[in-house]
C-alpha cells in the first residue's frame, strides 16, 4: 500500500453524520472486478444531478474544494456495508486522510468511524483521524470562513495543523501497530506469513480440517 508520513492539502467539509458506504460508492460500481477506477464514482448519487451534470448544491462540488485531499465529516463515517470499494473510492478521488469526531456520552464514547471502514482504510494507507466533537466543530467553522484553507495531517507526530494565519494544531490518537504499517506502506499478508510455522502448529493442534 501507499505509505503515509505527512500530507498537506486543501481540506474540504462534508457536513453530514452517518455517511454510509452506499453513499460513498453506490452499488452499481461494485460489479467491477478491478481495484481501480472508483474515484469518479465517489458520492455519485449526491455529486451528480439527474441529467448527469454536477449538482451545485452538493458541498464537495464547490470550487473552493477543487483538488481537496483532506476530508472532514461528522460522526460515524463509513457505516453500513463492508465494501472496501468505499475506501478505494475515497482514496482514488484524491483524499489521503479523513477526519471525523467521536462523541462522548455518559455511557461511553461513540467512535468517529465505522469499524469495518476504518479497518479497510488502514489496509490502504488512508489515514482516519478521530478528534473530539468540539475540535471538529471548530475546524468546520474555520474551513467555512477561510476559503482555500490547507491543512497538514502528520502521522508521525499525530497532529493536524490548520494553516490559518496563526497555525492551529490538534493532536490525535492512533493505533501504534497500524501506524507503523502505514508509515512503512507495509502489507499484512507477507508479515503474517512470517508466522507460518505458528499457524501450522495451531492447525496441527486443532487436528482436523472441516471436510
Amino acid at each position: 500500500m501507499q505509505s503515509f508520513e505527512k500530507h498537506r492539502g486543501i481540506i474540504a467539509t462534508l457536513d453530514r453524520a452517518n455517511v454510509d458506504t452506499d453513499q460513498i460508492i453506490p452499488k452499481q460500481f461494485l460489479k467491477s472486478i478491478a481495484r481501480t477506477g472508483f474515484g469518479e464514482a465517489l458520492f455519485c448519487d449526491w455529486k451528480y444531478a439527474a441529467d448527469g451534470s454536477l449538482d451545485a448544491s452538493f458541498e464537495l462540488n464547490a470550487d473552493r474544494f477543487r483538488g481537496a485531499s483532506i476530508l472532514i465529516a461528522r460522526n460515524n463515517f463509513g457505516c453500513g456495508s463492508s465494501r472496501e470499494h468505499a475506501v478505494w473510492a475515497v482514496a482514488q478521488a484524491g483524499f489521503r486522510a479523513v477526519i471525523a469526531p467521536r462523541i462522548e456520552h455518559e455511557d461511553g464514547s461513540v467512535k468517529a468511524f465505522a469499524d469495518i471502514f476504518q479497518n479497510n482504510a488502514s489496509k490502504n494507507g488512508l489515514v482516519t483521524v478521530e478528534l473530539s466533537e468540539s475540535e471538529v466543530n471548530e475546524i468546520f467553522n474555520t474551513v467555512t470562513t477561510t476559503p482555500g484553507l490547507e491543512a497538514t495531517v502528520d502521522l508521525v507526530t499525530q497532529q493536524v495543523t490548520l494553516h490559518t494565519h496563526e497555525p492551529v494544531i490538534y493532536n490525535f490518537d492512533f493505533d501504534p501497530a497500524i501506524k507503523e504499517n502505514i508509515l512503512l506502506g507495509r502489507d499484512d499478508i507477507g508479515q503474517t506469513l512470517e508466522h507460518e510455522s505458528t499457524i501450522t502448529a495451531y492447525e496441527d493442534r486443532i487436528g482436523e480440517t472441516t471436510d
Binding site: N18, K31, V110, P176, A177, E180, I189, Y202, T210
Partner: protein, 466 residues
C-alpha cells in the same frame, strides 16, 4: 476466572499475540461471494499464493443474481463478476454453490442451512451481515477485500480484541411482534454507531424463546448498530437445528454428540464481566417501522413521524434531510403512510419461517392493486421447501411475484430495483438513501408487517390481524 461466550471463542482461536499487541486469530470458516472477492483472488495470483485451506472456504453467488431468469444475465459487468467467481473457485479449488446448484442462495442463509455454521466457530465473509451466524454462538463478522485476501492466504486475521456488551431482552413478545422488531428497537435506542467497537451478546428469556431463524434475524442486524458482531449462546434450540435436516457440513452420530458436549461449555459463565450491559423489556413492544434513512430512525407502528428536533443520535439538519428524502411530514401517523412496493426477502428475513408467517397472512387475502409485492426466497433450498408446502401458490394467488433466490432488492445490484420516489415496505436491513434503487424510499419492517401493508396498501398494526 469466569469468561463470556465471546472470550471463550476468542481465546480458543488465538494463534499468536504479535509484539505490537495484535492478535493473530484463526478463522474456522470463510464464506465468499462474487462482489468482494475478485480483487482478493487477483492479489493471490499476483503474489503467487494459494488458498491455504480450501476446505474451510465456501463460495456462492448472491448479490448480482437475477431472480427471474437467472441463466440469462443481461448486464455484461454482472456476468463478468459471476464468471470471475467461477474461474477463481475453479483455479483455487474452492467449493462453489453456483447458479446451477440447488444449494445456492444468500451466503448467510446457506451457511447455517448446510451446517457450515456451527457453535464455537470463528466465521468471516466479505460482507457486513456475516454477524448473522452469531446466532449459533459463533464469533462472526464482516471484513473488507484486503482481509478476504489475508484469510485466503493465511486462514488468520490480525485483530484487536473488541469490547463486549450484553443486551438482555426480557419479557414475552405479543402476537404479531417479532425478533425484527426487537433488533430495530435496540438500534433505535442506541443509534447506528451505538455499538461500534463492541461484540454484543444477546441474552434473556425473550432471546431463549426464539427459534434459530428468529435469532439469526437479530444477529444479522447487529452491524446496523455498528457492532463488530452479535452472538447468542447455543442451547437445545441450536443443537436441534444443527441435528435436523440434511446439513452436509455438520457432524453426525457420535461426532455430533461429542461436539454438543463441547458446545454446552460455551455459554457465558456466571459472574463473567462485560464492558457494558443493558436490558430492554419487550412485553409491550409494538411492531416497529423505520421512517428515515438509517436503521436507527424508527417509530412504533402506533406512533407518528417525529419532529426533526426530537430525533436522537443525529443532528436536526440530518433528520430534516432524511424526512425530505423520504417525503414525510412530522406528525403523520405511521399507519397513514401508503406504500407501492413490498419486498419480502434478504439475509435478514427470507428463511422458511419468514415465508410461512407471511403466507399465513396472505391466505384468503389479496395484495392491494396499488402494490407490487416481490417474494424472494433466501436460498434455493428455501424456495424448494416453500414450493413443497404450497406457499408459492399462496403468494402467486394473492398477486405477489415469486422468484428464485438472491439478495435482490435488498441492495438492488440485480435488476430488482425501486424507481425514484417509490415507497417500499421491506423486510431487509438497510434504509439508506438509494439502497433499493436511486431515489427509492425504504421502510424496514418484519415479514408480518410487510405482508399486512401489501394487503392494506399502507402500514397497519399487524397485531390487530392476529
Amino acid at each position: 476466572m469466569p469468561k463470556t461466550l465471546f472470550e471463550k471463542i476468542w481465546d480458543k482461536h488465538v494463534v499468536d499475540v504479535l509484539p505490537d499487541g495484535t492478535t493473530l486469530l484463526y478463522i474456522d470458516r470463510h464464506l465468499v461471494h462474487e462482489v468482494t472477492s475478485p480483487q482478493a483472488f487477483e492479489g493471490l495470483r499476483l503474489a503467487g499464493r494459494s488458498v491455504r485451506q480450501p476446505g474451510r472456504t465456501l463460495a456462492t453467488m448472491d448479490h448480482n443474481v437475477p431472480t427471474d431468469d437467472r441463466h440469462n444475465i443481461n448486464d455484461p459487468i454482472s456476468k463478468a463478476q459471476i464468471e470471475a467467481l467461477e474461474k477463481n473457485c475453479n483455479d483455487f479449488d474452492v467449493t462453489l454453490y453456483g447458479l446451477d446448484s440447488n444449494k445456492q442462495g444468500i451466503v448467510h442463509i446457506i451457511g447455517p442451512e448446510q451446517g457450515a455454521t456451527l457453535p464455537g466457530m470463528t466465521i468471516v465473509c466479505g460482507d457486513s451481515h456475516t454477524s448473522t451466524h452469531g446466532a449459533f454462538g459463533t464469533l462472526a463478522f464482516g471484513i473488507g477485500t484486503s482481509e478476504v485476501e489475508h484469510v485466503l492466504a493465511t486462514q488468520t486475521l490480525r485483530q484487536k480484541k473488541p469490547r463486549s456488551m450484553k443486551v438482555d431482552f426480557r419479557g414475552a413478545l405479543q402476537k404479531g411482534v417479532t425478533s425484527k422488531d426487537m433488533i430495530l428497537k435496540l438500534i433505535r435506542e442506541l443509534g447506528t454507531a451505538g455499538c461500534t467497537g463492541y461484540v454484543l451478546e444477546y441474552a434473556g428469556d425473550a432471546i431463549r424463546a426464539l427459534t434459530m431463524e428468529e435469532r439469526m434475524t437479530i444477529c444479522n442486524m447487529s452491524i446496523e448498530g455498528g457492532a463488530r458482531a452479535g452472538m447468542i449462546a447455543p442451547d437445545d434450540t441450536t443443537f436441534e437445528y444443527v441435528a435436523s435436516d440434511d446439513r452436509p457440513y455438520a457432524p453426525r452420530g457420535e461426532a455430533l454428540e461429542r461436539a454438543i458436549k463441547e458446545w454446552r461449555k460455551l455459554p457465558t459463565d456466571p459472574g463473567a464481566r462485560f464492558d457494558r450491559e443493558l436490558s430492554i423489556n419487550v412485553s409491550d413492544l409494538p411492531p416497529q417501522v423505520s421512517w428515515g434513512t438509517n436503521p436507527g430512525m424508527v417509530a412504533d407502528v402506533t406512533g407518528c413521524i417525529p419532529s426533526p428536533d426530537a430525533v436522537t443520535h443525529c443532528s436536526q439538519v440530518d433528520a430534516e434531510r432524511a424526512l425530505e428524502y423520504m417525503g414525510l411530514t412530522p406528525g403523520t401517523p405511521v399507519t397513514d403512510i401508503a406504500i407501492d412496493t413490498v419486498f419480502l426477502g434478504s439475509c435478514t428475513n427470507a428463511r422458511i419461517e419468514d415465508l410461512r408467517r407471511a403466507a399465513a397472512i396472505l391466505r384468503d387475502r389479496k395484495v392491494a392493486e396499488t402494490v407490487r409485492m416481490l417474494v424472494v426466497p433466501g436460498s434455493e433450498r428455501v424456495r424448494e421447501q416453500a414450493e413443497a408446502e404450497g406457499l408459492d401458490r399462496i403468494f402467486k394467488n394473492a398477486g405477489a411475484e415469486w422468484r428464485f433466490a438472491g439478495c435482490s432488492m435488498c441492495l438492488a445490484m440485480n435488476p430488482d430495483q425501486l424507481k425514484p420516489g417509490e415507497r417500499c415496505a421491506s423486510t431487509s436491513n438497510r434504509n439508506f438513501e438509494g439502497r433499493q434503487g436511486k431515489g427509492g424510499r425504504t421502510h424496514l419492517v418484519s415479514p408480518e408487517m410487510a405482508t399486512a401493508a401489501a394487503v392494506a396498501g399502507h402500514f397497519v398494526d399487524v397485531r390487530e390481524w392476529m
